[in-house]
Amino acid sequence: MTWVSAIVHGILLGGFYALLATGLALMFGVMRIINLAHGSLALIGAYMAFLFVEHAHISPYLALAPILPVALVAGYALQRTMLERSLRAGQLVPLLTTFGLLIVIANLLQYFFSPDVHSLDEGRIGAAAWNVSSALAIPWFDVLTLGIAVFLLGGLQLVLQHTQLGRELRATAEDPDTAELVGVNARAVYARATAIAVATAALAGVFYGMRTSFDPNAGAAELLYAFEAVVIGGIGSLWGTLWGGIVLGVAQLVGAQINTEYFALSGHVVFLAVLVVRVAIQGGRLTLVPRRAT
């Protein structure tokens, strides 16, 4: 029964990883930007929720109402002011830019909020669980997190498939120059993608703050798991990100069941194994991304 419990909790943990990885997958899928600051942007969401809880005395869930629009605008501005310029300089520069952003955010958070840990109260749902048996309890908060991840990924998938914005996003992802030639403002499309990505990061960050206590340097560690979820799921695929998160979560908790010290290690091993298998299948060429057809 403990093994069943590890797998069930692994699936639920995977929902959180998928939530955190959604924006990462979107930005990589559309712009080929690996946003190293994604975890830090999520952390800003958590700290913003903390401010609303402290000063406006509202629940973190309610704080999402003002946080998400702010994150959309911030993401749009981030793309137009920083990432757009760095994209013009080649593939490596955006990576370095977001790495710089990661460090700046960590230091700013440390300056304003001190290095102490903070946490958010997840409300009544936090303590509630469905006790299936004496060995298996399913916490409602984790189910809510997984549900939001599925809802978010499903919603984004629908937008991508059935709206003009979605078609423009996919067309621009495949060939930005040609997208311009059929009337698509590629830079505005990029900015909208980043806006959505940053808003999903903030959403994930608020949930992260309710799951566990956080400090200004937590962004990088969480980013690693989100990144692994994206890679396991196959970069650029939204549903793949959900499966990737679940595979990672199950691997970590099954590993922890063997020995608590194996939690992170077993996740990394599965991540590496997926990479090795992909390389073998693709005959030694590591092409994670379906490249633009020319």
């Binding site: 067309a171 997208a179 057809a293």
Partner: protein, 240 residues
């Protein structure tokens, strides 16, 4: 007739290479201009500069009396310029219909819709839900032309639409083009096949090493004149 497009002293560079040198010409509303010339003469670069895909290093482009030299490609589409790029450049993982709809939603509104494009290119009807990457060359070319039409252009730029297609497919593509041109479309056409270019165009301009070296009506120009300009024969004789 007033000029829909006026190009003045246009220079376009690819790094150190100057692909287009001091090119000036006008295209009137309803006219069909064929650009001919050898590989590397600068035809594709000239078309892409008109569409806004290359920034010129000198000169001006006017469209409908307005200076559009500094406008980006998507802004020019909104004014009514559409390019069918060399090699078709469809969005490979989008379906035929999605390829059309992207352009339809982003361009101008007008008579061309998914339905009218599918009427004009009946071969695309059964393929509308297929991914562009799975289409044959002719089907891709029809989709690419249809995609450009979806933006409801006033000026259609066609780059090597017959390249890599079987002769019977080229016939089909040109039949559709002929009906477009009869319908009053303004077209600039880059074509390797001289005979075909001269059969559909009102005017022919021949490019050599980035310059327009010969311009005239197909009826007034002889094949020999165009061939000479095409290969730069007179220049070679002069320099020898």
């Amino acid at each position: 007739m007033s000029a829909l497009l006026a190009v003045e002293g246009l220079d376009v560079r690819h790094g150190l290479l100057q692909a287009v040198r001091q090119v000036s010409f006008e295209v009137a509303d309803g006219e069909t201009l064929a650009l001919v010339g050898a590989n590397g003469a600068g035809k594709t670069t000239l078309l892409r500069a008109i569409a806004g895909a290359h920034t010129p290093s000198g000169g001006r482009v006017h469209f409908d009396g307005r200076d559009i030299t500094r406008l980006s490609a998507h802004q020019r589409v909104k004014l009514g310029i559409a390019l069918v790029p060399e090699g078709r450049r469809l969005f490979p993982n989008l379906t035929v219909e999605e390829n059309l709809r992207v352009a339809g939603g982003a361009g101008r509104s007008g008579a061309w819709t998914v339905d009218t494009v599918l009427d004009a290119f009946p071969l695309l009807g059964p393929l509308r839900r297929k991914q562009a990457v799975s289409l044959s060359g002719g089907e891709q070319q029809a989709t690419a032309i249809g995609r450009a039409l979806m933006t409801n252009p006033r000026l259609l730029l066609l780059d090597e639409v017959s390249l890599g297609l079987a002769p019977v497919v080229v016939e089909g593509v040109y039949r559709s083009l002929a009906s477009l041109i009869e319908g009053g479309a303004t077209v600039i056409l880059v074509e390797q096949d001289l005979g075909r270019a001269m059969s559909v165009a009102n005017r022919v301009a021949c490019m050599l090493e980035g310059r327009i070296v010969l311009e005239g009506n197909p009826g007034e120009l002889t094949r020999e004149q165009v061939t000479e300009a095409y290969f730069g024969l007179r220049r070679k004789e002069a320099s020898a």
